[in-house]
């Protein structure tokens, strides 16, 4: 790396900062309509700048710029290696589609326009802070940018601040993000005390000299809170539905992946315990995936469903990560490649199709003002583009050919198949369980997404809406189509994208086995071949369509009502709802999917029953059985000390006086030694 590249890096980063400041000024100064435009321009420029940085770093094998930040923090290195570059490129793309979509989406929020400058400012900050998180490699500076990222995303989430439920979700998010900060801070401070360095290289030194597992687990919990591994996931299903859809799209697409980035980053420094950690992560991820998708299948709030589905995908990514670790432990380059490569590809894929799904779900919400899928139906007729886009996302996220989800899931499946040939029975069993578990996850995704898609878009509207839904603006459709193009690119040219993970794997993991070129090439060409089969499959469908057209061109085609099994007065309320669709599933897994029903039983004496209500809600078993009792008992304990914080100013003055007296007498009697 030459001197010029360092200067260039600093220059581009400085430019990034200038754009951020200029964009903020523009947002503040410009009138209402100009604010989103300023935001889009700034986000676009920051995306472009960081994209250039990332591509440069991929070209030259890493960029580095060091800023001096005083004596305590020390030098803050900004390093962009291929791992950072991969995540930076993803962030740049998704935030860009997010801001363009948001520009259209926010038009519906007229009453909240006074705080729109705040919203756009935080969006800019959010984007830049996420990019910085991927570059900064100094513990303290990292915590600071991490905190900026969390806070700015918090303000994005609570945009609809007049709604108390949104505020509650926001506070929940804030508390959990700070739990994450606590764990990360402890980890960094631990490293500092043992090695005397805030630089990330200190972590490597630590791992070389001390047991690995403790520190890794600390980091894993800290980052896992962001990523949403099971037990650490409870903020996701609250924050995602509460946020405006362009924010939830970006959050689910990217911010959750920052947690994955963190885990990957720590793994690059790992020196031992690969096998144990790999097995632990696979086990945890498997449970995460199953739990996420099981919950996703029952919720009626479609954004909550998508949030749980994100948890599921984190599970899939986690299985890949665990597999890669086992590959390192056994010194099997193929496992290392398939596991980490599959996980990294799935990070890309998931950020694409999940943001697409959130955007199209947001369009539905914007037009219908409800997130309850059981109230909707038949939207495909009103919003054909949105419906088609959602279907695209649904097929991709269920991992079906011919879309990009299959590519990454195939890599992870193949890795598991390879790992089945392990020596120990425990590992073989774990692998076969993961293999079967992944297939169940796939099966439940089918249930979830057929349910959601059909409840939203198919059949007839279940209730009459105040306003007839219309197709959303072109401004909102454009970023979604861009995402679809990106998805198709991954599906049909996977080798182009796989190059970067290969580069990451070749350079970033010192303890890992050497990537075998032949193996990588074999899988690259295999993926290329699969893309070809995708094409064959599509051609086949086209061919059969042509055949049908040819054979039926002369026969009569009539339109009539749906066959109601000889019942002559069907109405739209009789349709199967999302709830009834998933009912038999939720009943079977009632011990995990806690359902709360509220209704009054019909009494025998009631000859003429009155109108009555029935409601049913599902709650998260972790939240309900673990976290709520814990926080309740914590509350009860801290309530014992309410006599200290009693709200009376007089008492507080007494505390002050007492404190001063203690200091005073302490000094006099020299008690401080």
């Amino acid at each position: 790396m030459g001197l010029e590249s360092i200067d260039l890096t600093a220059f581009l980063l400085g430019l990034n900062l200038i754009v951020l400041i200029l964009g903020t000024l523009a947002i503040i100064v410009l009138p209402g309509r100009g604010k989103p435009v300023a935001a889009v321009v700034s986000v676009l420029s920051v995306s472009a700048l960081s994209g250039i940085l990332a591509i440069l770093s991929l070209r030259y094998g890493g960029l580095e710029a060091v800023f001096s930040m005083g004596s305590f923090i020390g030098d803050v290195p900004l390093r962009i290696d291929s791992l950072s570059a991969w995540f930076i490129l993803i962030i740049a793309f998704v935030t860009l589609t997010g801001v363009v979509y948001g520009m259209g989406y926010m038009k519906a929020y007229k009453p909240l326009s006074p705080i729109s400058s705040l919203h756009w400012f935080f969006f800019l900050l959010f984007q830049s802070s996420m990019l910085w998180v991927c570059m900064v490699q100094n513990g303290i500076a990292f915590i600071i940018v991490w905190e900026i990222m969390s806070i700015s995303s918090l303000f994005l989430v609570v945009f609809d601040h007049t709604n108390p439920r949104v505020l509650k979700s926001g506070i929940n998010y804030m508390v959990q993000m700070h739990l994450s900060v606590v764990f990360l801070s402890i980890a960094f401070i631990w490293v500092y005390f043992k090695t005397g360095s805030w630089d990330f290289k200190g972590i490597e030194t630590y791992f070389t000299h001390f047991p690995n597992i403790g520190l890794f687990v600390l980091f894993f919990i800290g980052f896992g809170l962001k990523a949403g591994f099971i037990g650490l996931h409870t903020w996701l299903p609250h924050a995602h539905p509460a946020a405006p859809s362009h924010v939830s799209g970006v959050m689910s697409g990217v911010i959750v992946k920052i947690g994955i980035y963190g885990i990957f980053r720590v793994i690059t420094y790992l020196k031992a315990d690969y096998l144990l950690l790999g097995e632990m992560i696979i086990g945890l991820s498997l449970v995460t995936g199953l739990f996420g998708i099981m919950n996703a299948s029952v919720h009626r709030d479609f954004k909550k469903m998508l949030a749980y589905c994100t948890i599921e995908n984190i599970g899939i990514i986690g299985i890949g990560i665990g597999l890669g670790l086992i590959g390192i432990a056994h010194n099997q380059s193929i496992l290392y490649f398939l596991g980490f490569g599959g996980a990294l590809m799935h990070v890309l894929n998931h950020s694409l199709f999940k943001s697409l799904l959130f955007y199209s779900a947001g369009s539905v919400y914007q037009q219908t003002h409800t997130r309850d899928m059981n109230k909707l139906g038949g939207l495909l007729g009103y919003m054909p583009h949105t419906g088609g886009l959602f279907l695209f996302g649904a097929i991709a996220i269920a991992g079906f050919p011919p879309l990009n989800g299959f590519i990454s899931e195939f890599l992870i499946y193949s890795g598991l198949l390879r790992a089945i040939q392990s020596p120990g029975v425990d590992q073989i069993t774990l692998m076969i369980l993961a293999f079967a578990g992944l297939s169940i996850i796939g099966g439940i995704s089918v249930l979830t997404f057929t349910k959601t898609f059909s409840a939203l878009f198919l059949g007839s509207p279940r209730i009459k809406l105040e306003h007839k839904p219309r197709e959303v603006s072109k401004l909102m459709l454009l970023p979604q189509y861009l995402t679809v193009i990106a998805m198709l690119a991954v599906a049909f040219m996977p080798f182009l994208f796989l190059k970067i993970p290969v580069q990451i794997l070749a350079a970033n993991f010192p303890g890992a086995p050497l990537l075998q070129n032949a193996e990588v090439l074999a899988y690259a060409s295999l993926l290329q071949q699969i893309s070809l089969f995708f094409l064959v499959f599509l051609l086949l469908i086209g061919f059969v369509a042509g055949l049908r057209y040819f054979l039926t061109r002369n026969s009569i085609s009539v339109s009539n009502t749906t066959w109601g099994c000889a019942y002559t007065a069907p109405n739209t309320r009789m349709q199967y709802t999302g709830k009834s669709f998933s009912k038999s599933f939720s009943k079977l897994f009632g011990f995990i999917l806690l359902e709360r029903k509220e209704y009054t039983e019909l009494m025998a004496s009631e000859l003429f029953p009155q109108r009555r209500k029935y409601s049913s809600h599902y709650s998260d078993i972790f939240e309900k059985k673990l976290i709520q009792p814990f926080s309740r008992s914590l509350n009860r304990f801290t309530n014992l000390f309410t006599f200290i914080q009693n709200g009376r100013i007089q008492t507080y003055v007494v505390y002050g006086i007492a404190f001063i007296l203690i200091v005073f007498f302490g000094t006099i009697f020299n008690l401080w030694h």
């Binding site: 139906g377 038949g378 419906g387 279907l391 097929i395 079906f400 050919p401 299959f406 195939f410 499946y413 193949s414 198949l417 390879r418 073989i428 076969i432 293999f435 079967a436 578990g437 992944l438 297939s439 169940i440 099966g443 439940i444 089918v446 249930l447 057929t450 898609f453 059909s454 409840a455 878009f457 198919l458 059949g459 295999l526 071949q529 699969i530 089969f533 499959f537 086949l540 469908i541 369509a545 049908r548 039926t552 026969s555 085609s557 009539v558 339109s559 009502t561 749906t562 066959w563 109601g564 099994c565 069907p570 739209t572 199967y576 009834s580 669709f581 998933s582 038999s584 599933f585 079977l588």
Partner: protein
Amino acid sequence: MIGFILIVFVSLFFTGIIIRTKSLAAGRKGPGIFQPLKDIFRLFRKGSVYSQTTSFIFRLAPLVYFSSVVMASLLIPFGVSRAVIGFEGDFIFFAYLLGLGKFFNIISAMDTGSSFEGMGASREALFSMFAEPAFFILMGSFALLTGFTSFYDIFNAIHLNSYTGYALGVMAALVLVLLAMIENSRMPVDDPKTHLELTMVHEVMILDNSGFDLGLILYTGYLKFALYGALIANFFIGGLALNAALPLYLLIQFSFAVAVGLIESFMARFRMSHNAQFIFALSSVSFLIFFGVLLIMGKLN
């Protein structure tokens, strides 16, 4: 290529044999074995009725369903002769292709906005979800046993593994027969001849399909049966020369069809609420195969 041609060939009279067996078991003479095929050709020439509620999904779904099964058939080898498409991990592609077909079937049923079709769609989604792990554990176990990950290599390596391999093959055949019954919505799980919409699974999903589309869906069902039959046969014919493999293949397909007919004649459909448990229990049979493989490989010492 032979594998694919044979699947298409067998699919022509597979259902005919099932119906003939059922007729004979019921003491009737029954229609000729090509009758189902003739019905399909009649449907192809007929006009069709589309529900006003439906969208393009409804018209697209039969095409995707058919194409997915055809594509999946291309993945099936025939003993020593390779499949048209074959690669490492091709059975994952196989399962996901079939899954895509199901996905479209389900949303096409939901597209009609009918209360009955939703019922079938929901059951189909649930049952196929439970069936998924049985297939994956089965194939995973054989991948473990043989050290290969594609249909062709696995089937050919099982043969080399002598008698123990065959023992597992029989158990695998059992799993696959039951899987085929579930995938095709046949007897222990679903009764294709039932007359009550409330108790149907697959039949109720295609209530609104007519004409060419219905014909295509029906033929896809036949193809799917032959596909599973071919999969079962492959467990036994791997590595055999063509002149020995071909009769054995046809015999297995034939006895599979007869077995389906007999099961349908002498068994009643399960209670709908017990189906899920039954299907999930299939995974435990797959686990038995897995433990069998562990035993054979001497890993359980």
